[in-house]
């Protein structure tokens, strides 16, 4: 499975076109980032896209309204930080996701011990709470994380923040293998997956990959929306050969 990432609000006016473009290029699902002022899990690339989006007035309501208009028939998953959901209210946030046609949520600063209140509302509304599983967790913890996960388990590919890496971290295939051994839910790996070769390598073990910074960086460096869509098509082709 291929899960490319879109920052809600970057590039400023054109970003909604990425959603339909990525779907047409063969994405199996799309992660929609709702920008937050203090994204502690994100490296410089996603930070910059978020800052630009926020500086141009991006906000959760606007992002969700635009996503609702997108004509796509693949799963959409929101990725944001917990304060966005907390401020809006768990039930309202979950309902707004459903109204926007978003079926899942990733909240990277809401770990297992803190997730219950949100997850109860998400379950009620029919929003899958995707849990992150990190290489630093022991197997017992991975089991508990996978048990709470809905939709799929998000394997954190490296000990660090989002961003491209020249070499695929050994931890990416390692976490995929550890998760596959303990859960029947789909295992998707993200963080540090930067090119088609790395995506293909991880996909030999994992059920899917998230690619984010490598897509956004192309546009920050002047590439067009179509360049980003073309890159997603290349990722698709590489995965199809696995």
């Amino acid at each position: 499975m291929l899960l490319p990432y879109v920052t809600g609000g970057y590039p400023v006016d054109e970003w909604p076109r990425l959603i339909e473009g990525f779907a047409a290029a063969g994405a199996d699902a799309i992660e929609i980032g709702i920008p937050f002022s203090d994204p502690v899990m994100d490296g410089p690339t996603i930070q910059e896209a978020s800052s630009i989006a926020l500086a141009h007035g991006s906000n959760p309501t606007m992002v969700l309204d635009r996503v609702a208009e997108a004509d796509v028939h693949i799963p959409l998953i929101a990725m944001t930080y917990y304060n966005i959901a907390y401020r809006m209210g768990h039930n309202r946030f979950a309902d707004r996701l459903v109204q926007a046609g978003i079926g899942g949520a990733i909240l990277p600063d809401l770990p297992l011990e803190e997730v219950d209140d949100w997850a109860a509302e998400a379950d009620r509304a029919g929003v899958a709470t995707v849990m992150l599983a990190a290489p630093t967790a022991d197997d017992d913890r991975l089991v508990r994380v996978a048990t709470r996960a809905r939709g799929f388990v998000y394997g954190v590919g490296l000990v660090g923040i989002t961003g491209e890496r020249a070499e695929l971290a050994a931890s990416a295939t390692e976490i995929a293998g550890r998760l596959k051994a303990i859960t029947d839910k789909p295992v998707v790996v993200g963080l540090g997956i930067s090119n088609p070769e790395q995506a293909a390598e991880v996909s030999q073990i994992a059920d899917g990959v998230v690619v984010a910074s490598a897509i956004i960086r192309r546009m920050l460096e002047g590439g067009s929306v179509d360049d980003a869509i073309g890159f997603v098509a290349r990722l698709r082709a590489a995965l199809d050969e696995v």
Partner: protein, 405 residues
């Protein structure tokens, strides 16, 4: 609801097993960091119950930091204001502020955990200098993240940190102040968690930090309680006042008086009054009051004092405000500068801009305080701020731009 403390029940107990002070606190961190937070909690609990550890800690506080620091009775200021002013002199500690208490505790703990590297965030630079000092003392590597704006405001402290062997990295994102330095330090820690201890500088962040940092600063309140008892015939002051950014010096001194009749007052900068606005939120690992917009985006705080330029506040302060055990007031930058000059003129003590907030409130509230005894935590000395204040008083436009009404 206002609680009138009349018995000895502590209003500042340990947090619950989920790191909550009432409804505030917790551990809102990326999954990658959860095992490290749990490991730190276990190590702290074990060390804090180990007499050998606490003995080593207190020995360092005595022979290295220069504790106990005195309580000074301010006679001239007292007659001018119409109430008795006592200062707990944290400004006399090695490195010039209360911050040294916490970093010595955390560096000792990091060493005990086998960590070889410290990362820290800093606003005014006091916590950065203290962290760099502790790292030099214990032979550890140290990286300090500091907002680009603060690096300009606090050039002297940047040089101090480098002189002490630390690497100072500029936080270029967001408002380029303390909150962004915290983000960068957390990102560093997420990537280096196996070898690195995050030496957090205030009573904020994920559990166990708010509790652990308070415990390392408890010495402020414990000393002050005994010193006040001696000065006041066994009595406690009527008011205990401290400035609040994240709130570590306030937590330290409040913890010595929470079970007494003393009224506890935290003073926030008007441009960074998280408790004053009382909107709950989650950032940097805990649930507390947080300055934010209608969508939950964290707002930038504005204060003449880099050390208080923070949009959040430690979760225990949010709790103390909610249950009414402490009250929180705010003062403007102009009131703070007046207090800065006042203490310098009348007592020969140049305060840091941070504790000058406490004094500024006392001046403002002098009718309420008339005839009482007020203990102010003089949490740091003003050397670091002299150049900035001089520039403001000289009317330098760039310096004036750091002021908010």
């Amino acid at each position: 609801m206002t609680v009138t403390p009349t018995d000895t029940t502590s209003f500042m107990p340990d947090p619950d097993e989920r790191g909550r002070f009432g409804e505030f606190g917790g551990r809102f961190v990326p999954e990658t960091l959860v095992p490290a937070c749990a490991e730190l909690e276990a190590a702290f609990v074990e060390a804090w119950a180990d007499a050998a550890f606490t003995q080593e800690f207190h020995e360092l506080l005595r022979t290295y930091a220069g504790r106990p620091c005195p309580v000074t009775v301010c006679s001239r200021l007292s007659s001018q204001l119409g109430f008795r002013v006592l200062l707990k002199r944290e400004d006399l500690n090695h490195t010039g502020s209360h911050k040294i208490n916490n970093v010595l505790g955390q560096a000792l703990l990091a060493k005990r955990m086998g960590k070889k590297r410290l990362v820290a965030e800093t606003g005014a630079g006091q916590h950065g200098v203290a962290s760099a000092t502790a790292a030099a003392l214990m032979g550890m590597d140290c990286v300090v993240y500091m907002g680009e704006v603060d690096i300009k405001r606090q050039a002297l402290n940047v040089f101090r940190m480098r002189l002490l062997g630390a690497e100072v990295r500029s936080a270029m994102s967001g408002s380029r102040t303390l909150k962004d330095a915290v983000n960068e330090a957390m990102r560093d820690w997420v990537a280096t968690v196996a070898t690195t201890h995050y030496c957090l500088g205030s009573v904020m962040g994920p559990h166990p930090y708010p509790w652990m940092v308070r415990e390392f600063h408890r010495v402020i309140g414990d000393e002050a309680r005994a010193q006040c008892a001696e000065l006041l015939d066994g009595e406690v002051p009527d008011y205990v006042v401290a400035c609040v950014g994240g709130g570590s010096n306030a937590a330290g001194i409040f913890s010595g008086f929470a079970d007494t009749r003393a009224r506890l007052v935290g003073v926030e900068p008007a441009g960074g009054a998280a408790i004053g606005r009382a909107v709950p939120g989650v950032v940097h690992g805990s649930k507390s009051y947080l300055m934010q917009d209608e969508f939950g985006q964290v707002q930038e705080a504005h204060s003449v004092s880099a050390g208080l330029d923070y949009p959040g506040v430690g979760p225990e302060h949010a709790h103390l405000a909610q249950i009414g055990r402490a009250r929180y007031e705010s003062v403007t930058d102009a009131e703070v500068l007046d207090a800065f000059e006042l203490l310098s003129h009348t007592e020969g003590i140049i305060p840091a801009l941070e504790p000058a907030h406490g004094l500024a409130w006392m001046v403002k509230a002098k009718d309420e305080l008339a005839g009482s005894t007020v203990l102010l935590n003089m949490s740091g000395r003003g050397d670091k701020d002299v150049a900035q204040v001089q520039a403001i008083l000289d009317g330098d436009p760039e310096a004036l731009s750091t002021m908010r009404p």
